[in-house]
Amino acid sequence: MKSLKASTITMKTIIYIVCIFLSILSIFPFWVMIMNATRNTYQIQQSSVALLPGKSLMNNWKILTGKSFNPWVGFFNSMIVSTGTTICAVYFSSLTAYALVAYRWKLRDAFFSFIMAVLMIPAQISGIGFYQFMYRIGWTNSLLPLILPAIAAPAMVFFMRQYLMATLSLDIVASARIDGSGEFRTFNQIILPIMKPAMATQAIFTFVGSWNNLFIPLILLTRQEKYTMPIMVSLLRGDIYKTEYGSVYLGLTLTVLPLFVIYFILSKYIIAGVALGALKE
């Protein structure tokens, strides 16, 4: 018994060392980024790893915003796109899922099989056709084509359907009908509140996914005042900031600041959501 205990302790020590190492590996790049955002070019060239902040934050900010990088524009556009996408995706996916669960209609099973079939098809594949289509109708440099497609989100419909099947009692729907509630009103006032937990989880992931999306905005948006954050960030790689290391780090920090805030407030739900998503699928 004694040797068993000793081996368990050794194992535990190894586990903690590895886990702490991995945690540092997760934090370290961002730590360097944030610290260097407050240091000047000379300091960074002397030693590019610093554990404590410098005093050049304001100066870096001035250099950063004095050139083409405009964090406010990027933030504003990304906010509109991500919020719009989240609302569209969550509301209409819930509605579609409700149609699949609450009603018996002829094409229901076929429709559901179709949703399953297109679940994994990425938007990137039809990127060229999408671009040409939007170009023809004059919707490039508009935020609408980044938002509206979210109304049809097969993966979320799938998730919402699984959730509804597990939680919805059709007796509620029946009694709402007896009380004279119309079908649409029943959905908005009775079903949506029931779906709140699922909607919250999906909302977080949609928002973050939309905030991080690069490919489609990159092909559609050519005017700088329409740039979303990920495109704005690609400006930092260009020649204009070549030696302004501190400013580049500050720009990078600004693009992910909202994500850090969201993550450290909601990390518990996000991790539960990742686990749940896998179980449901």
Binding site: F92, G127, P145, P149, A152, A166, N212, F215, S234
Partner: protein, 317 residues
């Protein structure tokens, strides 16, 4: 509900309309459009008019013969493999550690939060951040390597093909192993606890339990992680595009970056890019079919159970 004289079936259709209409306009139509463009002469910035080529498969032939396209497919496969093998290995190892009761890891929640974190951070930002971190001659990674004496002088990671590929693969690995770990842990928690208890009573050790009980029961989930990762890998764009823009000498050019470069730079070859998209699409379809079959089997069982439950409740509508 024929009994009450009102049929609610039509609401099933009505509530599905927004989804269906949006899907047709923003997914189906662009996909078909891409297919058509692949057979035409459409190229050049700002052009929309096109005609079908006399040899409709000309673009496909050219793409097949294109060395860069083949390189990009090879790169995608190599980078994905270099990321996935360590990713699934580490994810499984951590899963084993976090779910074995004997090791009861305190602060497990905090570790999960930190390990998962890179997954939600903007890939575009991470690509440019790593470009700075691996900077030459001065950069955090070079500084550390030199300070600890692991290398004699700073290395130019951006100019060597294999280190460039390696860094892209590392970023993908670093961003995704936490996600895989959480998915796998959820899978383990779904396994019947009595199985583990019985094995423990029989004197099985942690390694035996993991390989004889946990792993076989995780098969479906590991497969799910594998296929979704492959499909994601085929779309790898943000990191290779912004880390070194496909360089050096196309060493980190992935198929998605190739398609983007064909269509949106140089001579704007929309037609060739569409043909290349369709080839990648074909691979994704094959993978999706595999995933569909995998998930349907699991879903069917659940569906039948729920259908039965609904019938018992007297099923409305």
């Amino acid at each position: 509900m024929k009994k009450s004289g009102v049929s609610y079936a039509k609401y099933g259709y009505i509530f599905s309309i927004p989804f269906v209409v949006t899907f047709i306009i923003f997914s189906l139509y662009p996909t078909l459009y891409t297919v058509v463009i692949g057979f035409t002469d459409l190229r050049g910035l700002g052009k929309t008019a096109f005609k079908i080529l006399s040899d409709p498969f000309e673009n496909y032939k050219i793409i097949f013969a294109n060395k860069t396209f083949r390189t990009s497919l090879k790169n995608t496969a190599i980078i994905w493999t270099m990321n996935f093998i360590p990713q699934i290995t580490l994810a499984l190892l951590l899963t084993a550690w976090f779910t074995t009761r004997r090791f009861y890891v305190k602060a497990q929640g905090a570790f999960k939060v930190l390990i998962y974190m890179p997954n939600i951070i903007t890939a575009a930002t991470i690509a440019i951040l790593f470009n700075s971190l691996f900077g030459y001659p001065k950069g955090p990674v070079n500084d550390i390597l030199v300070r600890f004496g692991w290398v004699a002088k700073p290395q130019n990671f951006h100019l060597q093909k294999w280190t460039a590929k390696g860094v892209v693969a590392f970023i993908q690995f670093w961003m995704w192993y936490g996600n895989s770990m959480i998915v796998l842990i959820a899978g383990v928690l779904g396994i019947d606890v009595t199985l583990f208890e019985a094995a423990e009573i029989d004197g099985a050790n942690a390694t035996q339990i993991f390989f004889r009980i946990t792993l076989p029961r995780l098969k479906t989930i590991v497969l799910y992680v594998l296929i979704t990762s492959m499909i994601g890998g085929l779309q790898m764009f943000d990191i290779p595009k912004l880390y070194l823009n496909g360089g050096p000498d196309n060493a980190t050019l992935t198929s998605s970056a190739f398609i983007y470069n064909q269509a949106f730079s140089g001579s704007y070859l929309y037609n060739r890019a569409s043909a290349a998209s369709m080839l990648v699409f074909l691979i994704i379809v094959v993978l999706s079919v595999a995933l569909f079959l995998l998930m349907r089997d699991r879903d069917e069982v659940k569906l039948r159970r729920q259908e039965r439950a609904l019938k018992r409740r007297g099923g409305v509508a």
